[in-house]
């Protein structure tokens, strides 16, 4: 829990991360750390750089400056230059250990639910189809979709699609899971089923970085809440400190808008 009584070596560190799109500086030197089992929640208004931050962690977005440290391995920003073959291989390795769940699910439409879940293990980890299938059944059961394994994404509701996407991320047995507003594209009545799955993951002690606007959920599961504003971390701390007694004007007014 935050603040931790014992110093623990962080599993993931984001060090002095900067990101510019052209002349627009979106992240202005952000530092984050997550120890094993930590759940860091990122909040902030639209355009504050939350997605960019989380996408820089697995280099879907190339940082302009700074580094990502995962399990003691340092991955540095290589801006302006094409990555060498070697450096690309490093990224592939990083991404195997970092699962990601997108706002828009991004399930592969030409593959069924179970095929979506099996794809990473079979194609990337070289697991046999038989074994991948057995494992996939387990992950789909974990997200409550045992009865939908052969459905195609187009045949599933948004909430079901997002749960398949979570199973797909879990199937890689990642060290850490990234969520970018996993419930923002869902109809309100479908938000609960996805949050429940995430809640279960939290109680299993999974390490997660979550961008969300679900303040009640953040309050319940987070070990740290980070408020991002205009590319800077404006405020951070325990969920109750940050969400219940904001210090800055920006956070107070942000929370005002999300309190319904």
């Amino acid at each position: 829990m935050y603040p931790s009584s014992l110093p623990r070596a962080p599993l993931l560190e984001v060090r002095n991360l900067r990101k510019s799109f052209g002349s627009l500086e979106v992240l202005k030197g952000v530092n984050i750390a997550a120890a094993k089992g930590d759940i860091v929640t990122l909040i902030g208004s639209s355009g504050s750089g939350k997605s960019t931050l989380i996408r820089c962690i697995n280099f879907l977005e190339e940082p302009t400056q700074g580094e990502i440290v995962l399990d003691g391995v340092v991955y540095s920003a290589i801006p302006l230059r094409r990555r060498s073959r070697r450096q690309n291989a490093d990224l592939v390795y990083l991404r195997r250990k970092v699962g990601m769940v997108f706002q828009s699910f991004n399930l592969w439409p030409h593959r069924s639910a179970i095929e979506n879940v099996m794809e990473g293990p079979v194609q990337v980890l070289g697991v046999s189809k038989k074994e991948a299938r057995e494992n996939a059944l387990g992950y789909l059961e974990k997200v409550g979709l045992s009865d939908r394994i052969d459905y195609y994404p187009s045949q599933l509701s948004g909430g079901q699609q997002q749960r398949v996407a979570i199973a797909r991320a879990l199937a890689m047995e990642p060290a850490i899971l990234l969520f970018d507003e996993p419930t923002s594209a869902l109809d309100p009545e479908l938000v609960g089923e996805v949050l429940r799955v995430m809640q279960n993951l939290a109680s299993e002690g999974r390490t997660m970085i979550i961008v969300t606007h679900e303040m009640q959920f953040a309050l319940e599961v987070s070990s740290e809440v980070v408020f991002l504003s205009k590319g800077n971390i404006e405020e951070r701390g325990s969920p109750s400190d940050v969400l219940k007694s904001p210090k800055s004007e920006a956070l107070a007014s942000f929370l005002q808008r999300y309190r319904s």
Binding site: L60, N88, L107, W108, H110, Q123, V124, Y152, A169
Partner: protein, 236 residues
Amino acid sequence: MLNFAILETGAFWWAVLNGLAVTLALTTLSTGLGFLLGGIIASVHIYGGGGARLAAKTYIFIFRGVPLLILLFLVYYGLPRVTWLRGSLFWDLVLTSPFRTAVFVLTINNAAYLGEMIRGGLKMVPPGLLEAAAAVGMTKTRAYFRVHAPLALRSILGNLGSETIAVVKASAITSVITVRDLMGGPTVVGKIYLDPLTPLLVVGVIYVVIVQIIDLGTKLLRSHLAQPDVPQSQHL
């Protein structure tokens, strides 16, 4: 006047049968090879750096623009005059036979059309699906073959059918460089029997039938590749 006497000669039907085989071979080879070349050109266009991209663009620009007939004449009558080509592999492989020249020219031409079509298909795949592939640790190459190309292919399947139909019909033009295809073979027999029209009627009907078959094939393929509306089986 039409008297259809030619329909009772074995030579005519032999020419039809032979011609049909030649037309099918022309179409299959030039569509297959054109698809391969077009796929490479399209992928270079999407993934390549500045120079490669420009080359791909230029290729499509030129060969989509030049009429097939001009290309055919240039290669069949023009290239053999280029003396330094003599003895080259290209000379032996392509220029020594009208059929292979026709396959070559149709391939070059198809690659431009198919390349442009495939490029459109590749561009239609939502970037998020490729990011999802990257996020599970796929390399770009793997993501291309597992996600990008299959989805692009599905999105252009309908157009692929109509493109093949266009090729079947366009291949008739190769009779001008003496290829005895479905058009060339029977019409030559027609000249001998002083009946130029009956062969055209017969051959025309056969083209219509071929087009129908391709249409049907495309439909079957599409429904085969489409996601089923109802899941077929429950494995639990």
